[in-house]
């Protein structure tokens, strides 16, 4: 594997029962690169993301991770506890004492909701809270499945700027999105 390459997939295939979701997919993601996985609903974007993360096993092919890989992920599920407050969730995420936490809380307009139970936040606010995991994590590969769903234009711009900055710092980004964004990416189209 190329030393710069963080993730390399060779001839990946996945089928459910006898239905081929995708086959012979090959791609690689290096430091400072973004990969946009696109395609219509049901084409296997989320499944491919889960294969990259190692949650789901591919039917065929191999996926190689660089030894130094440390991935952070946000998918359709926010992994937040609805019955806990925002502060308690930040403790659970291990982010409560992060030095940059206050900046991001202000930027995402979440600071005044610290004592509010997550169940009482709107969908977009919950998404923003979940995004803090990505913003404050020291990973070198960021994996996002539809990160802009539920976000207002301002927050989408904040997320985009953050991701572009992280890519410029040498991190790799793999994401799916049906919403147009300004991240310069390689495109992997699943038909």
């Amino acid at each position: 594997m190329n030393t710069k390459s963080l993730i390399k997939a060779e001839n990946i295939a996945y089928k459910i029962n006898e239905n081929k979701l995708f086959h012979n997919l090959s791609f690689s993601v290096s430091k400072g690169e973004a990969l946009h996985i696109s395609g219509p609903n049901g084409s296997g974007k989320s499944t491919l993301i889960r294969i990259i993360l190692g949650i789901t096993k591919q039917t065929k092919g191999a996926i190689t991770h660089n030894e130094s890989n440390n991935m952070s992920y946000l998918g359709h599920k926010n992994a937040l506890k609805n019955y806990l407050t925002v502060s308690d969730n930040l403790i659970l995420l291990g982010l409560n004492s992060h030095e940059k936490l206050n900046n991001f809380l202000e930027e995402l307009a979440l600071k005044k909701y610290l004592d509010v139970t997550v169940a009482n936040l709107s969908f977009g606010q919950q998404k923003k809270l979940a995004l803090l995991r990505i913003f404050l994590n020291e990973s070198n590969v960021i994996v996002l499945d539809e990160p802009f769903v539920g976000l207002d234009t301002y927050t989408q711009n904040v997320v985009e700027s953050f991701l572009i900055k992280e890519i410029n710092l040498g991190k790799a980004l793999i994401y799916t999105s049906h919403i147009n964004c300004n991240i310069d990416s390689k495109i992997l189209n699943l038909k």
Partner: protein, 215 residues
């Protein structure tokens, strides 16, 4: 230590999950003397059988949704991605559940045993038996809960219940042994042996089962 604290924090906020099984246990223990004649001899007769079954039932209730919430909200996926030792995380989770539910029930067993039998030596012995058995039952039902993660917890409990029967038999024999002054150490060691095997195997099996569910 952080993982233990985080699991504690989650469980502490879910009153139904940890207080529910303890209250059920207390209710059964309180209801028992009301259902038989108020003669000390009669009370003692069936008390320990009921005690073990109550512990079994409480442990079954406590594991009802042990993984369901983390499964539904995506926490399990995050744990698998971020940690290389998923079985160890599961072992920690089981331990916290035992501390919050199994240990109080074991201590309450002492009080109820003392109240019914007025025998302090036997009651002290009951604490150890209750601690060991509650941990064994908890592990077994956690396995059941993982098996039926998205199919309802009753199915898992039904599958794992037969595995608890040998433990119930040994518990019954242990009480008889101590009541008749027979050497009970072997039985205690047998339970400890079962516990050590279960503690070391269950987290690995459960992690495998959960990963299969997530796949």
């Amino acid at each position: 230590m952080t993982t233990y604290y985080l699991e504690y924090l989650k469980l502490k906020k879910k009153l139904r999950s940890w207080l529910g099984p303890i209250i059920v246990f207390i209710l059964i223990m309180v209801a028992y003397p009301l259902t038989v004649e108020f003669l000390e001899k009669d009370l003692e007769k069936g008390f320990y059988s009921l005690l073990w079954i109550s512990i079994l039932l409480s442990m079954m209730l406590s594991t009802e949704d042990i993984f369901l919430e983390d499964f539904n909200d995506g926490t399990l996926e995050q744990i698998i991605i971020s940690t290389s030792s998923f079985p160890f995380m599961i072992a920690k989770k089981i331990f916290i559940y035992w501390i919050m539910i199994g240990l109080p029930i074991s201590l309450l067993s002492f009080l109820f045993s003392l109240g019914i039998t007025q025998d302090i030596n036997l009651s002290l012995f009951v604490i150890f038996l209750a601690m060991i058995s509650s941990y064994i039952f908890l592990n077994l039902f956690v396995f059941g809960s993982a098996l039926s993660l998205n199919k309802g917890s009753v199915l898992g409990a039904l599958i794992t219940m037969p595995l608890a029967l040998p433990v119930l038999i040994v518990l019954g024999k242990s009480i008889i042994a101590i009541q008749f002054g027979i050497n009970y150490l072997e039985l205690l060691l047998l339970l400890l042996g079962c516990l050590s095997i279960i503690i070391s195997i269950v987290p690995f099996i459960v992690s495998y089962v959960i990963k299969a569910h997530l796949e």
